[in-house]
């Protein structure tokens, strides 16, 4: 409920503060909507199937019939990119939601209750952060198995570190505000203060961070599946398309170019959107979530 409120407020605020949305932001939002549409309804409407092999049509360059060309098994590349993109985006979004669920709760507790709880959780996340992100992802993939759920779990754990930090920082700062003292003074329980005052204040920076993380999730998922640790063939994933395309790079560069362009469009748009959100919602929280 409050989440929807924040979204609504966010988009209401953007025009208010700057009467005109910057063209960059409009393009970014448009691109995201276009991509979201393409990988879902668009892919469904698109006549080619990502897994159908037409061996006579192998390694065809871009044409009207196959706008992105075909791969080594004659499969339409656009269809595969859309399918892979869907996997990537879905995995990113779901993992960010997972990270939000875990990281926010722990960050709230650590930032508000301080003491031993803060000590334990902070140290835990510090230790997790010592391990380089991609190494952690690879390790988790090796352990949890190679499928969609494992990717989500792995990314979720990785991104909960960032979410924890952001939430904890915001909590620690809001906690010192006088209106929090006032709320306690009028009988507010800790749950009430955490839910109504602190969490509400954390929603904006979390929204910005979540947007950035979805962008990084796409890149990370691509890396994982490039190594063969993500979704397995014949299911398409952006990374596996790139890996397969490496073999025939010179003859069919489109196999490399188009998946990369797709990623570039998605991540650039998400980052631009996050910048716009950060400006509109006015909180000075920054940083990247690169794995």
């Amino acid at each position: 409920m409050a989440f929807a409120e924040t979204w609504a407020r966010a988009f209401r605020r953007i025009p208010k503060r700057e009467p005109r949305m910057r063209p960059k932001t409009a393009i970014a939002i448009g691109a995201i909507i276009l991509v979201a549409f393409s990988v879902t309804i668009g892919a469904w409407l698109y006549p080619h199937d990502p897994n159908v092999q037409v061996l006579e049509d192998r390694y065809l360059g871009p044409s009207l019939d196959h706008p992105f060309g075909t791969d080594r098994l004659g499969r339409d590349l656009l269809a595969r990119v859309l399918a892979g993109g869907r996997v990537s985006l879905l995995a990113s979004v779901l993992s960010v939601i997972l990270a939000l669920l875990g990281g926010t709760a722990l960050g709230l507790l650590a930032g508000y209750l301080r003491g031993a709880i803060d000590g334990i959780f902070s140290r835990l996340f510090d230790a997790l952060q010592v391990i380089p992100g991609l190494v952690l992802l690879i390790a988790l993939a090796g352990v949890l198995g190679r499928d969609f759920t494992s990717v989500i779990l792995g990314l979720g754990i990785l991104y909960s570190i960032k979410i924890f930090r952001v939430t904890r920082a915001v909590t620690a700062s809001i906690r010192t505000e006088v209106y929090v003292d006032a709320s306690v003074a009028m009988g507010g329980s800790r749950a009430h203060v955490m839910g109504r005052h602190i969490l509400a204040g954390a929603l904006s920076p979390l929204l910005v961070q979540a947007t950035i993380l979805v962008g990084w999730g796409v890149v990370a998922e691509t890396g994982l599946s490039y190594l063969g640790l993500g979704v397995q063939p014949p299911n398409a994933s952006l990374g596996s398309i790139l890996a397969e395309g490496t073999v025939s790079m010179t003859q069919s560069p489109w196999l490399i170019i188009f998946p990369g362009l797709f990623i570039a469009v998605v991540t650039l748009s998400l980052f631009t959107l996050s910048d716009a959100l950060r400006g509109a919602l006015g909180r000075p929280i920054g940083g990247t979530g690169e794995a």
Partner: protein, 340 residues
């Protein structure tokens, strides 16, 4: 005389002094020492003192925002000194607190209606339309109209914001209101306005009010009784009129003389203190004011002055110790050649 709503008895609180990096030291700051007073319905007790006198700490101790080291707080006869859980929550419903800074005590992202309605939400007293009605009523009590409901605090002036804070405090229909420097952050013209609203509310709602301020004029305007604090101790306590016209403790005299709105009567010596109050970590034996008192005697450094009571007026000062209560005899400050 109605039975006291709030009884504070011997409240004391010490803090560790922050010396060096690790904060641990043998020195402890005695923020509040043996504070005792009573609040009754429809009456105001004013707590006055310089910064560092412990008055804000005392207010927070009374409201259980801090835990006292010793002493007791009783509301309506029930001891709430160590109350937790539902008893503490009920206490907070009956005793409300108004904070000093109206710019910080209201959540800037919340609309006013939600701010004032928060106590109702917390105590589950009303919801939806009923809540809105109650909020409107209390806003009206402080002189703000219902259009304020959807606006944010940033759209209001300091005085209006403090009135919102008061409306919020009144939401649960408390019987006691503790106001910590309620007008100190406001400019002088707004102060009178807010104070008069408080006075009206007290009248119509029979509120017991504990008013804390460093400004004696503010305290004196509204209070029935005044407690003067110095370095954590209540050094003098009495009816507001008497405190100002016949102050007994040298510190009170200095306060009165320092207050531009109150004139000293001609038959009394003036006391002007040159230095600021020290933040003492070690309170030695003897009177805490001994180091600055222009009328200090040897005894003052060695023995703590006992609290002596003359009817409704009590004072802790060796000067008056010898005036044992005698029928009809009221003590007077000795006339001394002018101080520095």
């Amino acid at each position: 005389m109605n039975a006291p709503l709030l009884r504070v008895d011997g409240l004391s609180k010490t803090f560790a002094a922050r010396n060096g990096l690790f904060g641990r030291s043998a020195n402890r700051v005695h923020a509040v020492r043996q504070a005792s007073f009573e609040l009754s319905a429809g009456r105001t007790v004013g707590l006055v003192g310089e910064s560092g006198s412990g008055k804000s700490t005392l207010a927070r101790l009374v409201h259980r925002q801090l835990d006292a080291d010793s002493g007791s707080v009783a509301f309506d006869g029930i001891d709430v000194t160590k109350a937790q859980g539902s008893l503490l929550k009920r206490f907070r419903k009956e005793v409300a607190f108004v904070f000093q800074d109206p710019y910080a005590s209201l959540n800037p992202s919340w609309p006013v209606g939600r701010i004032v309605g928060e106590p109702l939400a917390i105590h589950g007293l009303a919801s939806g339309a009923a809540r809105e009605q109650i909020v409107e009523r209390h806003l009206g009590e402080v002189g703000l109209d219902p259009s304020a409901l959807d606006r944010r605090p940033s759209q209001f002036s300091g005085g209006q914001r403090q009135r919102i804070a008061i409306a919020r405090a009144l939401a649960t229909e408390p019987r006691v209101l503790i106001c910590d420097e309620p007008v100190s952050a406001l400019d002088v013209s707004t102060r009178a306005q807010v104070l008069s609203i408080l006075a009206e509310l007290q009248e119509s709602l029979s509120l017991a009010i504990l008013l804390i301020s460093h400004d004696l004029a503010v305290v004196q305007a509204m209070s029935d009784d005044v407690a003067v604090m110095y370095l954590g101790e209540i050094v003098e306590y009495g009816p507001a009129a008497t405190i100002v016209t016949k102050p007994l403790h040298p510190y009170t005299v200095a306060l009165v003389d320092a207050s531009p709105d109150i004139r000293a009567p001609k038959d009394r010596s003036r006391i002007v203190l040159g230095t600021d109050a020290p933040t003492q970590t070690k309170v030695g034996p003897g009177c805490p004011f001994a180091s600055r008192c222009p009328l200090v005697m040897d005894r003052c450094h060695e023995v703590r002055p006992p609290m002596v009571s003359f009817g409704g007026h009590r004072v802790a000062c060796h000067l008056h110790e010898t005036h044992m209560p005698k029928a009809g005899l009221t003590p007077v400050m000795p006339v001394v050649k002018a101080g520095p």
